[in-house]
């Protein structure tokens, strides 16, 4: 079983009302160092019997065709190493 993350964000030039709503709310709650917020989507996919050689290409096609609306969104595919634990894996963090 292979695991892939697809992160989908609005293109930088596209208005992001959701991110703006969060950005305006945070200072009211005392978080006043926030200068910009963008909100996007994250997909965690599990694939069976996926050929590791084609895994990235498959995920990119799925993102291109369905997961992202490429008229207004960009996406990024991350293939997780086979031995990665659950995605709440703090090791990814700096």
């Amino acid at each position: 079983m292979a695991r892939v993350l697809v992160d989908v964000m609005l293109k930088p030039e596209i208005l992001d009302p959701q991110g703006q709503a969060v950005q305006r709310a945070l200072p009211r709650m005392g978080f006043d160092s926030v200068t910009n917020v963008r909100q996007g989507k994250r997909f965690e996919l599990e694939l069976a019997d996926a050929d590791p050689a084609t895994l990235r290409a498959t995920a990119e096609q799925m993102a291109e065709k369905l997961l992202a609306n490429t008229v207004i969104e960009d996406f990024k595919v991350t293939v997780l190493p086979a031995d990665a634990g659950d995605t709440d894996n703090r090791a990814e963090s700096a």
Binding site: P17, Q18, A21, V22, A25, R28, M29
Partner: protein, 234 residues
């Protein structure tokens, strides 16, 4: 002096005027409350109305929950003030942890505006005492994030403590255990996804032949007559 029912307006609230109208319809004094104002202006009960506060952009009700007026309402509710959260108001109550659970996207992912039949499971709260136990009511829903979820333990507790307020007869959105509304243990804080304030008269309410039954369009009124009576008798 008539009981004073306050209705909060957040930015993006839509159903505040209709909630005020419902309060007036049963003879209460409707009082508009503003999200930036901590003062509740001596109201005897509060309605958190429906709508898309702050666009519901982060999560429904998530940002409204941090309004100044909510600080006061959360304290007052813990002290026994009757609070009814309708739709977005229910979501605000969940975000504020005055009620358990959360609301996620409807099962088919769409906004649903439909007149649904409910069974009132608990008529011992401040907001439902005017219903017969097990009464049916046809009340509209109109939401996109209306699917109630909670972990199994919480759901079991809600059932065991009789805190399921109302259930859908035909579940429109996949809500856990057909739950349309719940109450806190004290029965003063109630959350309901359907909109009783839109079922208060024959002209604009869901009236006619619905679910094989002639419906008067006023099935939501008892929420407002209940609170009025419980305030008078209190």
């Amino acid at each position: 002096m008539p009981a004073r029912i306050g209705v909060v307006t957040f930015p993006g609230t839509l159903d505040d005027q209709q909630a005020l109208r419902a309060a007036a319809a049963v003879g209460a004094e409707p009082v508009a409350l503003w999200h930036k104002d901590r003062d509740l202006h001596q109201v005897d009960a509060v309605v958190l109305p429906g709508g898309f506060s702050y666009g519901d952009y982060l999560r429904a009700g998530a940002i409204a929950r941090f309004s100044p007026v909510m600080d006061t309402i959360i304290d007052a509710a813990r002290g026994g003030l009757p609070v009814l959260g309708i739709c977005n108001g229910f979501q605000v109550l969940c975000e504020a942890h005055l009620l358990e659970g959360a609301m996620i996207r409807n099962g088919d992912l769409h906004f649903i505006n439909r007149d649904v039949a409910l069974r009132i499971e608990n008529n011992r709260t401040a907001w439902t005492s005017d219903y017969e136990a097990g009464a049916q009511a046809v009340i509209p829903i109109k939401n996109v994030d209306g699917r109630f979820v909670a972990d199994e333990r919480t759901l079991d507790a809600l059932e065991a403590e009789g805190r399921v307020l109302a259930r859908y007869l035909a579940n429109p959105n996949g809500a856990a255990r057909d739950i349309a509304g719940i109450t806190n243990a004290a029965g003063n804080v109630v959350g309901l996804m359907p909109h009783p304030e839109y079922a208060i008269d024959e002209l604009t309410g869901p009236a006619g032949f619905i679910e094989n039954r002639r419906v008067p369009g006023t099935d939501g009124l008892p929420f407002f007559t209940s609170i009025l009576k419980s305030l008078v008798s209190a």
